[in-house]
Every structure is written in C-alpha cells, then in structure tokens.
C-alpha cells in the first residue's frame, strides 16, 4: 500500500521535474532566438572590423572599442569623399561608408516623424474611439467596419497609388508625407485598441459624468482618459515604434536626406561597395536605443494595455 503510494509520489515528482526542464529548455531557446541577434549587434558594435570578420567569430569583443561610435559622430565634422574613404582603414573601424554623414540627420528625421505620428495618432484615435465606443450614433457599426477594412489591404499593394497621391500633393521627400502615411497605418489599430478599452469602462460612469454636468469632451477628459492610461501609453508606443521601424513606405516616399529615416540610411550602408559591418552595427545600436528606453520606461503600462482588449468578457 505504502509502497505504491511512494511509487506514485516518485512518478509525480519525476513528471514535475521533467516538465520544469522542458519549460526551462524552451524558454532558453526562445530567449536565444529573440535576444541573440541583439546581443550580436551590441557585441560587434564594440569590435573592430577585423575582429568582427574573424573566423571563428568573437562572441565577446576581444579588444572593446568605441571607435565605431566615434566614427559616427565624427561624420558631422568630416567630409566623406571617395578619397577619404580610400584612406580610411576598414580594420580600425574608422572606415566610413558613403552617406555616413546622413546618419545623424536621419536619426533626427526618425525622431521628428515618430514624435508627430505618436501624438497625432492619439489625438485622432481617442476622439474616434470615444465616439464609436460611447456615443450610440447611427452608422456606428458601419464606421467601425470601414476603419477596420482599411487594414485588410496589404501595405505593399498601396505603395504605388500612395506614391502617386503623395507626388500630386508635393509631399514626396517631406516628413509630412511620411507622417500622413504612417497615421493611415497606426490609426485604425489604435482606434480598435482604444474602443475595446473604453468599452470596458462601466457605462454607469459615463451616465454619472453626464448627469454631473460633463459634455462629451469633458466626460472624455475627466473620466475616460484618466482611466485608460495603459491603453494610451501602449498606443503611443505602438505608433512611435511603427514609425521608427517602418521601411518600405519610407524607401519609396523619401529619396534624399531632407526626410529619409534611419532604416533607409542604415540599409544604404549595406549596399555600399564595401560594407563596414562595424559601422553598420554601431548605427544599429543607436537605432535600437530609443525604442528600448521607451519600452523600459513604460513596460508596466504596455503589458496591461496590449492585453486589455483581449480579456473582454
């Protein structure tokens, strides 16, 4: 009797252990899969070109150097010509690809576009989501579906028409053109996130606010927005990151540095005659710093904001 009990308990313990090991194993695999490329990016940005291309590869920088970053910030004071490029020594990490001087302006462009996309995205989506979630106007369902249907069409199919529209509006090579385009991508999603969040706020709170004397705008400001902070932060992040990472629209709609964003400029370095991996990787590190900082600052809000719509009963 007690023997079989012990055996049962032992089997249970073994099963639990096996389960723990399997979960741990897959967690490690997932972490390596997600974090591996980033780790390699950071590691190689601190290596010279020679160390990066060494076989076998150096997982950790054998001789850590900030030379690549210095090279990036030196581009503002140094003119890059065919001659200077020839003089640059790829092995020291001070080799500059053509267009290197565009990196810092592109960083600014990315910020500028991302900032306005994040701000305008919220401004437009909040009011639209409030109207659809709270005010029971006629055509509410139709409005919602129209907004969602715009996201059914793949972006790639929109590129040519979008290019023509932007050209006719004289918005090629402008930040405004990019901002408008990105808003078209982010607004429908954001409206959707905010609607599901607003709909979770008890209807009685809306009725109480209206009875207390709130107009719709005041009800939005005093009741809905303060109670939706997680969703608002998540939307802000989502819009900024979408804009920050976007490649294909920016590639088509911007052709010079007055408006080109970071992904376009960095990808240009790879297409050079000689690719400076050290420089590209250092630029890559700079490109991921803002999203990482934002994500760390608002991590708490992002998790609850993104899952908010999912748990609606």
């Amino acid at each position: 009797m007690s023997l079989s009990d012990d055996a049962g308990r032992g089997a249970y313990r073994r099963a639990k252990l096996t389960r723990g090991i399997i979960i741990m194993l897959f967690s490690l695999l997932l972490t390596a899969y997600v974090a591996g490329p980033v780790a390699w990016l950071v590691s190689s940005s601190l290596q010279t070109e020679a160390d990066i291309t060494a076989v076998p590869p150096n997982w950790l920088p054998p001789r850590p150097t900030l030379g690549n970053f210095e090279a990036i910030f030196a581009t503002t004071t140094r003119e890059v010509t065919y001659e200077t490029r020839r003089q640059g020594d790829p092995a020291t990490g001070r080799f500059l690809p053509s267009g290197a001087e565009n990196l810092l302006p592109a960083l600014w462009n990315s910020f500028w576009v991302g900032f306005w996309v994040a701000v305008l995205n919220l401004a437009v989506s909040i009011t639209a989501a409030y109207a659809i979630a709270v005010i029971h106007f006629k055509g509410r369902q139709a409005a919602l579906y129209t907004i969602l249907v715009t996201r059914v069409i793949p972006d790639i199919a929109l590129i040519v028409p979008l290019f023509l529209v932007m050209r006719n509006l004289d918005l090629i090579n402008t930040s405004l053109g990019l901002i408008i385009t990105y808003l078209a991508v982010t607004v429908p999603f954001t409206i959707f996130i905010l609607i599901s969040y607003f709909e979770q706020i008890p209807r009685d709170l809306y009725r109480a606010a209206r009875a207390d004397g709130c107009s719709h705008v005041q009800a939005l400001r005093h009741v809905y927005l303060p109670l939706s902070l997680p969703a608002l932060v998540a939307s802000l992040m989502f819009a900024f990151l979408t804009s920050w990472n976007e490649f294909i629209f920016a590639l088509i709609l911007t052709q010079n540095i007055t408006s080109q964003t970071l992904p376009i400029v960095i990808s240009g370095f790879v297409m050079d005659f000689t690719t400076s991996f050290s420089f590209v990787n250092a630029a890559g590190v700079i490109a991921i710093i803002p999203p990482v900082v934002l994500a760390m600052l608002f991590e708490r809000y992002i998790v609850s904001g993104l899952t908010a719509g999912a748990v609606k009963g």
Binding site: H136, P202, D204, L205, R207, A208, A209, R210, A211, D212, G213, C214, S215, Q218, H222, V223, P226, L227
Partner: protein, 359 residues
C-alpha cells in the same frame, strides 16, 4: 424642482420597441417609482428623462420647457446608480465636488457644500479615501452625496439599493426617504423590488414591455390592481389566482371551478355571469375560522411574525396567511372564507380587472 412630463414617447432599437407611446406626468416634488421586471423599459425611461438616450418620437418636458433635444449635461439632473459609479481615480471629496467644479463654483463654497453633505450622510471621516477603500454602503452614501451637493431639478435613481445587503438596504431606504422630505426635489426611482416601491413612493408606475400597466398610489395599486400582471407583481407571497367561470345568476353570482365555489357580490359580478374569469385573492385576504370551505394544509412556512400555509381547497391550491399563534400541522383541516370586498376578478382573455360598481 420640476414637473416632468413625457408625451407619447416612443423608443425603438432597430426592430425592437422598448417604449410604446409612453405618457407620464410626474408632479413637482413627487417621489415617483418605476416598478417592473427587468427589460420592462423602466431604466430606458430614466435614461430618456436624463437625456442619455435619444427618443424615436414624442416630447420630454421639464415644467413647461421642452427638453427633448437638450443634452444630458444641461438638464441639471442628478443620478444615483446600482453600481455606485464613483470615479475610481478621484477621492471621495473630489467625487462629490466634481459636479460643482464643472460649474465653476468657488473653492470655499465647494468645501462648505461637500462638508455639509458629508456630515448629513455621516461620511465626513471618509473624504480623503478612494472609492475602492470603501464598503458598498459607504460608496452608495458617497454617490448620494455627489447628487446632494448640487441643486438638481430632479433626482434619478437606478436601483440604488440592489447591491446592498438586506440590513443596509432597509437603512439606506429610510435615508433616501428622509432626503426626499428635506430636499423637496422631484425623485424618480427605478426598482424591481416591490417592497422598495411600496415604502418609498408617492406614486408608482408599474411597467411591462415598455407599456405602463398602472400609475397610481401604492395603496391603490396594491388594493385595486388594474390587471393580473400588476396583481401578481406586487405582494409577498404572490396573489393566488384561480381560473374559472362566473356561474349562478345575476342576483346570486357564483365563482366556480369544479367543486371550488365562492359566492360573489351581485352588484359587482352579477352582470358578468357566464364570463371566463380569473379570481385573485391575496394570502392575507382570506379568513380562517370555523365556517367556510374546508382546506387541507399541505405545507406550513413559519416566518416568525406570521406563517404561510399552503392549502388544498376543493381541488385548488392556495397560499393563506395565518397568525403566528395558530397551531397547525401538515395534514390538518382548516376552514377558509373569502370576504367578497377583498376578491379581485380579472377577465381571463384580456387579464384586465373587471369593472366594479355601477355600469
């Protein structure tokens, strides 16, 4: 302070009609209760008065002002909800002050009004707390206070006591009744609880499927229900109903169903001889004694102050109220009489009350 009138108000949601040509005249300073089962349109009516729902047709008037298209925030009404609906991010003080702040009232006046209301409601010590730190009863007092600090033209309450436990419900009910007396404001109160309706109301509107069944004083609704629905909805235990016909002749009418026969008043029922009717009689309206129909007791439910007996009378099951002193056991036989003036007669087809008195 306002007299509130609804004239032929209809509200449809697509194909569903929630209110059908509703006419209501709520007097100034009246305590009006909307009573009915869920889905009867009582909350919709309240929302329409508050301006929270648009109407499909008809008019809403406060005194003689046409309010049909006046938005909710300009109607100067105050609301209290079953869910309390306190702003979770604001302190108790700010919850109560919010309506005043929206109207640009000066800070010292706000403080004075909120403090006074808080003292009246005995929540002065809670002003710095957040709603989630309060019990249900305290939250509902804050919600009352939020409505109290303003001078609304009407107080609208949507089942404010339904989330409270039984003891708290009774004490808050008396609090609301006292508030109505001291404030002299029109109160409109929605509930599905007949006890609340009977204790609070000056007049009750009984609703069903978006149609008013009866609008009258609690006493009139209880003693002279206009149809079978109203009769069944009010009263605990529910009124007994027996389907049968009026037999006999016009000078000696008799309600019969098989062996069950009750003589009826000739003046009242004489002209309905031959009609299929439903006899309604409340548990407390039957007399137990030595004469009358023989009834076999099938269940005894003592309630402390009284007892309810399930009895079997000539093939009919009834619930009878008995005093707590009566010693009775299951299987005993008792005698039941049916005093004529306390019987209700409803037409079986239309379920309407049969007209009484002179033709």
């Amino acid at each position: 302070m306002a007299r509130i009138r609804l004239e032929a108000v209809t509200k449809s949601y697509g194909a569903v009609t929630a209110l059908k040509a509703l006419d209501l005249d709520i007097r100034d300073q009246e305590f009006m209760v909307f009573l009915g089962p869920s889905g009867c349109g009582k909350t919709t009516t309240l929302n329409i008065i508050a301006g929270l729902e648009e109407i499909s047709s008809g008019e809403v008037l406060f005194d003689d002002r046409r309010m049909t298209f006046v938005p909710a925030h300009k109607r100067e009404i105050a609301m209290v909800f079953q869910s309390y609906a306190l702003y979770p991010q604001k302190s108790v003080f700010e919850n109560m002050a919010f309506g005043l702040r929206l109207r640009g009232v000066a800070q010292n006046e706000i403080t004075a009004k909120v403090t006074a209301a808080a003292e009246q409601l005995e929540i002065a010590h809670l002003l710095d707390r957040r709603p989630q730190q309060l019990s249900g009863g305290q939250r509902q007092r804050v919600a009352l206070g939020r409505a109290l600090v303003r001078q609304p033209s009407a107080f609208l309450m949507d089942e404010p006591l339904s989330n409270l436990d039984a003891a708290l419900r009774v004490s808050t009910r008396s609090l609301i009744k006292r508030l109505h007396r001291t404030m002299g404001t029109t109160f409109i109160y929605v509930t599905h609880d007949q006890a609340e309706a009977l204790t609070l109301a000056d007049r009750i509107t009984v609703m069903r499927d978006g149609v008013v069944q009866q609008l009258d004083t609690p006493e009139a609704i209880y003693t002279r229900p206009r149809n079978r629905f109203v009769a069944a909805f009010l009263g605990q235990p529910q009124m007994n109903f027996v389907d049968g016909v009026i037999g006999g002749n016009s000078s000696q009418p008799l309600f019969t169903r098989g062996d069950f026969a009750v003589p009826l008043d000739a003046a009242r029922a004489g002209r309905f001889v031959g009609r299929a009717v439903t006899l309604g009689v409340r548990a407390e309206d039957m007399d137990l004694g030595s004469s009358g129909l023989q009834a076999e007791v099938t269940l005894v439910s003592p309630l402390g102050s009284e007892q309810h007996l399930d009895v079997h009378v000539a093939g009919v099951d009834l619930v009878v109220r008995a005093s707590k002193e009566l010693r009775v056991a299951i299987g005993d036989t008792i005698n039941v009489t049916f005093p004529n003036e306390r019987l209700h007669l409803f037409d079986q087809a239309s379920e309407e009350r049969l007209a009484e008195g002179e033709q």
